[in-house]
């Protein structure tokens, strides 16, 4: 799609005569050899909620970070309220009335809410006066926009939802007229997300402009007035939300029709593979993160764990995968597994547990290692990789890597290339190949398609189904409800370190699961 075409659609999108809050013209940005934004132009009307939708890596966050002065654009111009406004740093953005709520909050964990709000906008060299006046305006803002938080609470004691409110308060305290939110609902329960949307509507009613970055179509349809679609660093369209529909947006996002349903046969559960009883895990600080979890998975069955991130799913995977310690009873094929040893991944693998971890960049792969070294990662004791008692057989590992790369369609198929040089989807395929190719009895898999392009998502989903059909047990953790609904044979919902309930995917819906995810039990 050409730039002219994009502009053509924009003319219809922005209401004629409505004053513009923001206008971006021809923004480009490259990170080394990667072109993150390519000649992007966009107009946002004052007092509207504008959505920016696109897949992971489409360049949405980069574009907004440029608007906020966090990155500097290589080319392009920014107009705020019709005036050319160079934004070389965040200070300039703040002065121009722009506030941003990042996906990963930028809060100082051991500071109070008040300290976080005034940081950078203290209003004087001494804190005493600033604190008092900030406290007052904070109370006013809280009343005006339903943003209740205790100003003296320390951030690390607050829930994620409340931390997000602090971020919004930070922006409002700086008198932002334009508020950018980057994937704000990723960490929220559906109920919390609804509340956030009420707040955003309130902000719009007060004349503020809101830009919402998301990859969730539902949110765009629900709250935005206009929407821009990004694909591979380019802006593919800007339309009025009421003139479009999810199907059209999805097609614009990925460039072709999306297969939203995964083809699969009904499950035929067999023998009991995994039995977990009263599993408990404490973190380093001593906080209990798993509070007595019990579950079972049979052969030929996928158990999906739904839940908002941070409710114990990671700990569940980690304790079963031998990364973290825990208490309780875990039996694999009837044999009890000791949960007391640290870094016990070796014995888990030996027993037939494979683990595709949630965070492939920090857990699943060593980014500086080559692909073949990563294929041996965790299986470096495997007999077929040894030359003698002491020496590893690097040639055998490389040969195996070539074969795995071919069968799992890893591109480019170069075993000596460092893991960091592969795209997200191909990195994930390396992990999937390593973990699934050994036919494990139990596969632990977390966020299998996070940051993975559509093509790879389909491939990985098919692999998981194939493993199930081969009579293996699968524990699937994902924060994407769609993924859980379409892959699982049973769904368990986790909240606050506990399983709130189990549902049959055929007999439940997003609303019911959402309530469970929020900890509401009927």
């Amino acid at each position: 799609m050409t730039g002219n075409d994009t502009l053509g659609r924009q003319a219809t999108a922005a209401p004629a005569g409505a004053p513009l809050a923001i206008e971006l013209c021809g923004i480009s940005k490259a990170f080394g050899p990667v072109q993150a934004n390519k000649d992007i132009s966009i107009q946002v009307a004052k007092g509207s909620i504008h959505g920016i939708i696109g897949e992971n890596g489409a360049g949405k966050s980069t574009l907004m970070s440029i608007l906020y002065g966090f990155y500097k654009a290589d080319a392009g111009e920014i107009y705020i309220s019709g005036n050319l406004t160079p934004i070389p740093d965040s200070q300039s953005a703040i002065r121009a009335g722009i506030g941003m709520v990042f996906q990963h909050f930028k809060l100082v964990q051991n500071f109070t809410v008040l300290e976080n709000v005034i940081l950078g906008a203290e209003g004087g060299a001494l804190l005493r006066g600033a604190m008092a006046s900030a406290r007052k305006s904070l109370t006013d803002l809280a009343r005006e926009y339903e943003l209740d938080v205790d100003p003296d609470a320390v951030i690390e004691d607050l829930s994620v939802g409340h931390q997000q409110r602090v971020e919004i308060l930070k922006a409002l305290y700086r008198q932002a007229d334009i508020l950018i939110l980057d994937e704000p609902t990723g960490v929220l329960t559906p109920a919390e997300a609804d509340q956030l949307f009420r707040i955003l509507n309130g902000l719009r009613d007060q004349g503020k402009t809101v830009i919402l970055i998301t990859h969730k179509l539902r949110e765009i349809m629900e709250i935005t007035d206009t929407v821009s679609v990004m694909r591979r660093g380019q802006m593919t369209a800007t339309v009025k939300t009421k003139d479009t529909n999810p199907e059209e947006l999805a097609e614009l996002m990925v460039g072709r029709k999306v297969l939203l349903h995964v083809e699969k046969k009904p499950a035929t559960p067999g023998e009991m593979v995994l039995e977990v009883e009263n599993l408990r895990v404490r973190d380093e600080v001593g906080v209990e993160r798993l509070k007595g979890v019990s579950l079972t998975i049979r052969a030929g069955e996928i158990l999906g764990i739904a839940g908002v991130a941070g409710n114990g799913q990671s700990e569940l995977l980690e304790v079963l995968g031998g990364i973290a310690r825990g208490t309780g009873t875990v039996r694999l094929n009837g044999q009890e597994i000791a949960l007391t040893a640290a870094a016990d991944g070796q014995s888990r693998r030996a027993r037939g547990i494979a683990h595709v971890p949630e965070d492939r960049q920090h857990l699943g792969l060593i980014m500086d290692f080559s692909a073949w070294e990563n294929v041996a990662f965790g299986y470096h004791h495997a007999p077929e990789y040894q030359k003698s008692a002491l020496l590893m057989d690097n040639d055998a590992i490389r040969a195996d890597t070539v074969s795995k790369m071919e069968r799992y369609d890893v591109r480019p198929p170069i075993p000596t290339l460092a893991a960091k040089s592969f795209s997200g989807g191909n990195q994930q395929k390396i992990v999937v190949a390593r973990e699934m190719d050994r036919n494990p009895d139990l596969l632990l898999v977390g966020q299998p398609t996070r940051g993975v392009d559509i093509g790879a998502i389909e491939f990985i989903h098919k692999q998981i189904i194939a493993l199930r059909d081969a009579g293996k047990a699968v524990l699937l953790v994902s924060v994407e409800l769609d993924e859980i609904m379409s892959l699982s044979d049973r769904i368990a919902v986790m909240f606050d370190g506990q399983i709130m309930g189990e549902r049959d995917p055929a007999k439940t819906d997003e609303r019911e699961l959402g309530l469970l995810m929020a900890g509401v039990v009927k």
Binding site: G322, H362, I366, A376, Q386
Partner: protein, 364 residues
């Protein structure tokens, strides 16, 4: 991601950094009123102009190979062992114990025994900081520094009150039995018909150092342990996922590192002094840091860097002899090498990277 070829990363960047360090060193020499070119000439003639000079150069290089490898192994495992100095001095104690209290029938057996004891003592001195890092999370950098100071107090105590022969004035142990004298490099090269000066301390320990280089290469890139050490060094979190035990790996890395530092003592204590002297390490433990950084923690790089520092050390001694430049110049050069090849690596790397990126874009 990066457009830079491997050779640029492994060779070009360190070489440029080294060049900067030398240019600044030259400026320092200029600043104290000496002629850097003349100084360089003295250093080259003194250290490389004769087999006598070469002998000293290689003698020092032997020390630096051991300590450089020691720092490298720890670096590869993500640990910064600054305790080479203390570990090497304890290694000296190990050599002295082996040579003084065991009636060895032949120097070759004594060498094996002494090397073993040196490694054992060095490893033991690294074991406590390693354990505290692995189990208690106390930073190995600080604890190894402290252990250097503790080692120096311990060595004074041992030499003054235990090992010093009755009535002797200097703080040193008794001389080892003359039969334990190690063959000099000149003797060894003479066997294969290469004439080499024999009035220098270079000895058979050099060959052991070369074997150690090969051994470390084999360990790091061919064994499971090496694989795990490197994985742990790149990402502790991921290593735990892979079932690599952090406590065990930290211990192994530091024990090997301490052992290598300790083995330096066979060169100084057994090969040269033939008795244990106070402060026999003479900063070689610290030079190991510069050597490892320059050699990119790879045995081949370490070997080359060790020879370079051997040259600097011998050349520096010659300088002190013939000019008013004190030996401490070497410490300054060493500091600059650590600064530019270690801490300010990005200063050189980033411009080189963008240069390659530009070249690539030009081609495309």
């Amino acid at each position: 991601m990066t457009a830079m070829p491997k050779w640029a990363d492994a060779v070009l960047v360190p070489l440029i950094s080294l060049l900067i360090a030398f240019v600044i060193s030259g400026l320092v020499i200029l600043a104290i009123g000496e002629d850097p070119v003349a100084a360089m000439k003295i250093m080259v003639t003194g250290a490389l102009g004769s087999t006598y000079g070469w002998g000293y150069t290689l003698y020092y290089s032997t020390n630096f190979i051991f300590t450089g490898l020691a720092v490298s192994v720890a670096f590869q495992a993500g640990l910064f062992n600054i305790g080479g100095e203390g570990q090497a001095s304890l290694g000296g104690l190990g050599v002295a114990v082996a040579c003084l209290f065991v009636p060895w029938p032949h120097w070759s057996l004594a060498l094996i025994g002494a090397a073993g004891m040196a490694a054992l003592f060095g490893a033991a001195w690294a074991a406590i900081p390693a354990y505290l890092q692995a189990k208690r999370g106390s930073h190995v950098v600080i604890t190894t520094i402290m252990f250097n100071y503790i080692a120096s107090a311990l060595m004074i105590y041992v030499l003054v009150t235990i090992l010093r022969p009755m009535g002797a004035m200097d703080t040193a142990s008794a001389r080892f039995d003359p039969s334990l004298k190690l063959p000099r490099l000149g003797d060894i090269l003479g066997l294969v018909g290469i004439p080499f000066n024999n009035r220098n301390p270079a000895n058979i320990s050099l060959l052991i150092a070369l074997v150690a280089c090969a051994g470390v290469w084999l360990l790091m890139w061919r064994t499971r342990l090496g694989y795990q050490l490197r994985a742990f060094g790149k990402s502790e979190k991921a290593s735990v996922y892979a079932g690599i035990n952090p406590v065990r790996i930290t211990m192994y890395a530091m024990l090997i590192s301490g052992g290598l530092s300790g083995m330096m003592a066979i060169n100084t204590v057994m090969g040269e002094a033939q008795r244990l002297l106070l402060n026999s390490v003479e900063g070689a433990g610290f030079i190991g840091i510069a050597v490892a950084l320059m050699g990119r923690s790879h045995p081949v790089g370490v070997l080359l860097a060790a020879i370079l520092f051997g040259f600097l050390y011998q050349g520096g001694a010659e300088l002190a002899l013939w000019t008013t430049i004190p030996r401490e110049l070497i410490i300054v050069i060493q500091a600059l090498v650590i600064l530019f090849t270690g801490a300010m690596d990005n200063m050189v790397r980033k411009p080189v990277e963008s240069l390659f990126l530009m070249l690539q874009k030009g081609k495309a």
